[in-house]
Assembly symmetry: C2
């Protein structure tokens, strides 16, 4: 079926169901960012491949709501279809619940797949529709009726992450979690976030592209803890290890029955931000649900010493792969080898596999040459990928999983002569990244505060970027994780020692070029004095920053000092493991900038 | 009565009323920051003279809740009484509603004066007390029974601020307000904020120390607008001018009757953040109250061209007074004249009266020498004021009202040799002030974002201050006004062109010294480009910044450049109006710093 036929089929389905609108979210029953094919409902219906958005179909309108990151991409992908783009995160943006409220008639019915909408999101819809007296009608998997070749549940094996990597036993983690549950006056907690489950039980799996997690639920009470997962995925050996740590395994689809049979009034913690509407609102209707942020979200974000040491090792190996890649790229272009954006991305992905404990890419690489780099979330495909020329800027945002950590690095490099605008943008964006790298801040500081440090140098040059500055990163887990982030929008979450967060300002010029510099930072306690407790960052990323594009006149002496020290440490740490030719090359690349 | 007798009398009153606790707020029926004596209930019961705090009396506890600004002062003032300090804005602070919830028995009764508690604050108490099943009992003016010499309502004459100063007629302002009321689906609005009333009706009065406003309420509907004010305060002439602009005058105490007689279900806008609990909850119980921020708050904050030109004139005259004062101070100390903190404050206050249109001090001056300057809100009294010596730092935070504007300036000056610590703190705090002065930011930026720019230079030196960075300033109105401020705490309010906001970082060392630098900034639109709309600041304040305490090595070249340009502009604008001796002195004071 093409997009138009799919919309048509859905409208017939809507008519039969008595729906005036259908909302198709971009998530799965687990509130995931990346989805197994089974739950890529938004992509199936619209053809839009970005990672953020919501589709709304009414009788006479098909709309996609997405944000600044995807404006250019979505316009391309929706071209020729009935879909209209509704831009978010712009002044006067109207989000889809408010749009529905303004465009439906009183008493309208809005259909959703309640398994694939979080409780919080459903409540937001309800609130917007209240005045209209419109109602939500949840039918799990309603697309099954028209999506004939819909994929099934992923069936990859679950494996154990040994304590020498995780740093903490499941037993220990459960002990702490039970105290936290009790502290909230509850006896149970339900978890549906796949990375929280993976962290808590020290398990990993390849159910989801780029995210080493298993499709599952978890229920923990004062005595028992249960992993709900498709049985064929758990070997006898894994089952035994889990049992030793106090974890039982039950089938994935037995969860609804178990939840329904909890005693009336059971005090259960559930995070309405991630738990789906169906479980929260229907299956737990008879319980006393405490809608609270999962304590696992916080504990997972504070890396333990084994995990932080693992991150350092991951960035060392990742740095080797990156430097070998850039060396290869430069030499190949010198020899006039024809290379496209996809060719070089594949090369880097392969180079990452060479390290001990390498476990694949941590997200789909953004390999973007020239104007393509102005799309902050561009992914090349072989059919349309540009060929790299010996001029302009090339941006690559990539990362790998290792048993001991997960990486995420962006570098923008010159392939030949640059324009003045490219050099200015390169320099100004770098000033932003340096500002956060060397920030010193009081305990209690939020990401929103730190965000300003990064934007200030850009703003002084009247440039900006339409995305956040930083996201948390998991330890051999999702490359994007909460609860912290660094962005202008307020989030009442401290940046705390042990948190690993990216630092990735950029500047994008549609149709011309794009620049982004990304390092990943580990937060440390520095000292206490009469003014409070002071925190700062250690840069984990080890990959040189190109100095040839810099306009040194735009930089302050202390910024140049930071850059020279950073490049020097990259050389010092990586050179011993490189070939002679590579290390000579890296020595040159990391030569100090002089004013 | 002494404090102990007052507490005793109140406890008897509480027993009679069946109250388990009494809450005595720090405000009046108008949500004011500074209060007529009549409503200084917190000061009467506790002896604490700070501008922020709440008193709670139970059968066995007397507590004062206040924030970081007042820790040192309140400890001094409460010494020897039963009162205990409950610190706010510190980690693990427990505010009084939560303290009540933790310390009262189920079903307890908490007594309040519902006229002197905002609706929002009462709701906050109710929420905290909900689980305890405790109730609020509001009895307006309950302290009358034990406060025998309680002052009456202030009785100062209301006068008209001419349009050549206000820049906009009351008729125009009312026209816009009525559109805004209608836009919210209402027919009425009630205003109780005295500065909003003064701005809307272009009236001023001296009912409240330092705030040129009249104790009054306002009710506006589609056709009429009424000022409720004690009749003797309005002359025939003022009454006629108001009538020409469409404003009727009614007695202050007729408001309750008028509100009660509004038709059932009247759609009325009321701002629960400022309107008192009694009016909002009791007098308007039969109306459809729309709890919304008053549009007057926003419109008043965006200064019109006549007002901004007035501010420039005010800062010119204020700068002359300040420079003459500092010249006099330096010469007097050279001649070994004995001067106390109060002596010099009086001198400056007098110097401000010399300007055309001068209307008195805009707040109680902070005139603080040596260790006293470590109390950010210190006010000297003649009995304990320190004598100025020819060493260390002297801080004066002062301002004046003029018919054409209101000023607020802090300068910290050396009276002789300084310690290294004093010079470092002086320099580092100044770096913070400079950062905001030259900020460039996107439309949509909040005060919380800008706050970080000011703290960053301090934090890099591991120093901080426990107060906000900036507050809005009224035009010949309250020196502190909303809706904008610049502080770490999130407030969802853009900083917009036309807003006038202070910029006042400091560093305080208990028992040693304090530094604060304060200029006032006017926000301007700079330009629009592909990234958005860019805003920046014009510094209104004209008073030289002392360069002799600076540790130039701690400053960046661009900071020195800003400082030199600022001091040069002070000299250029003020020198023509100074005496020959004064201008020679100012030339020397504003000589450029060289690296």
């Amino acid at each position: 079926m093409n997009i138009s036929e799919k919309i048509q089929a859905l409208r017939i389905l809507m008519q039969e169901a008595g729906w005036d609108a259908a909302v198709i979210s971009g998530t799965d029953p687990h509130g995931s960012e990346y989805l197994p094919e089974r739950w890529q409902q938004r992509k199936w219906i619209s053809g839009f491949t970005g990672s953020y958005g919501t589709v709304v179909i009414t009788r006479d309108h098909a709309g996609l709501w997405t944000d600044t990151r995807y404006f250019i991409q979505s316009r391309r992908e929706l071209e020729g279809t009935e879909f209209e783009l509704h831009p978010l995160r712009v002044p006067e943006a109207v989000d889809y619940p408010e749009w529905l409220a303004a465009n439906l008639s009183p008493g309208a019915v809005v259909g959703i797949d309640g398994e694939c909408v979080t409780y919080r999101e459903a409540e937001r819809m309800k609130k917007a529709l209240q005045e209209l007296n419109a109602t939500l009608d949840s039918r799990p998997s309603f697309l099954n009726a028209i999506w004939n070749d819909r994929p099934g549940l992923p069936m990859n094996p679950v494996f154990i992450l040994e304590e020498k990597y995780s740093g903490k036993s499941t037993q220990n983690k459960l002990e702490r979690l039970r105290k936290q549950i009790k502290g909230q006056g509850c006896t149970h907690i339900i978890l549906n976030s796949l990375d929280q489950i993976a962290w808590l039980f020290n398990i990993r799996c390849h159910d989801i592209p780029y995210n080493p997690v298993a499709v599952s639920y978890v229920l923990v009470d004062e005595n028992d803890s249960t992993l709900f997962v498709t049985p064929g995925k758990v070997s006898e050996n894994v089952r035994n290890v889990l049992r030793e740590q106090g974890v039982d395994v039950m089938p994935y689809d037995s969860l609804p029955g178990v939840l329904r049979s909890l005693p009336e009034g059971t005090g259960i913690m559930a995070d309405g931000n991630t738990l789906n509407y169906n479980a929260f609102h229907n299956l737990l209707a008879h319980c006393a649900v405490h809608d609270l942020q999962s304590p696992v979200l916080h504990d997972k974000a504070i890396k333990n010493p084994v995990e932080t040491e693992g991150f350092r090792k991951a960035y060392l190996n990742d740095g080797l792969a990156l430097e070998r890649f850039f060396f290869w790229l430069e030499k190949s272009l010198e020899k006039d080898v024809i290379l496209t954006e996809t060719d070089v991305a594949k090369k880097l992905s392969w180079m990452r596999t060479l390290a001990e404990g390498a476990m694949g890419d941590s997200f789909q690489y953004i390999s973007a040459y020239g104007p393509n780099a102005s799309l902050p979330h561009y992914s090349p495909n072989p059919a349309t990928a540009l060929t790299l020329l010996k001029e302009g800027l090339y941006l690559i945002d990539s990362g790998g999983h290792y048993l001991y950590g997960t990486t995420d690095t962006t570098r923008t490099v010159p392939l030949g002569p640059l324009t003045q605008a490219e050099r200015e943008d390169y320099t100004v964006a770098l000033k932003g990244m340096i500002a956060l790298s060397r920030a010193i801040f009081l305990k209690g500081t939020k990401g929103t505060h730190l965000d300003m440090l990064v934007r200030d140098p850009l703003w002084r040059h009247r440039r900006n970027y339409g995305h956040g500055t930083g996201h948390g990163t998991g330890h051999f887990l999702c490359v994007h994780e909460g609860p912290q982030d660094i962005r202008m929008t307020w989030r009442d979450q401290d940046i705390l020692p042990g948190m690993v967060t990216s630092n990735e300002p950029g500047i994008y010029r549609e149709g011309s070029h794009g620049v982004r510099h990304e390092n990943v930072l580990l937060c440390h306690l520095l000292e206490e004095n009469e003014f409070g407790t002071w925190l700062g960052f250690e840069t984990l990323t080890l990959c040189h920053i190109e100095t040839s594009p810099l306009l040194v006149s735009l930089m302050e002496p202390s910024e140049i000092e930071w850059l020279n020290e950073y490049n020097k440490s990259v050389y010092t740490k990586l050179a011993p493991m490189l070939t002679y030719d590579e290390s000579i090359w890296l020595k040159m690349k990391t030569a100090p900038v002089t004013v």
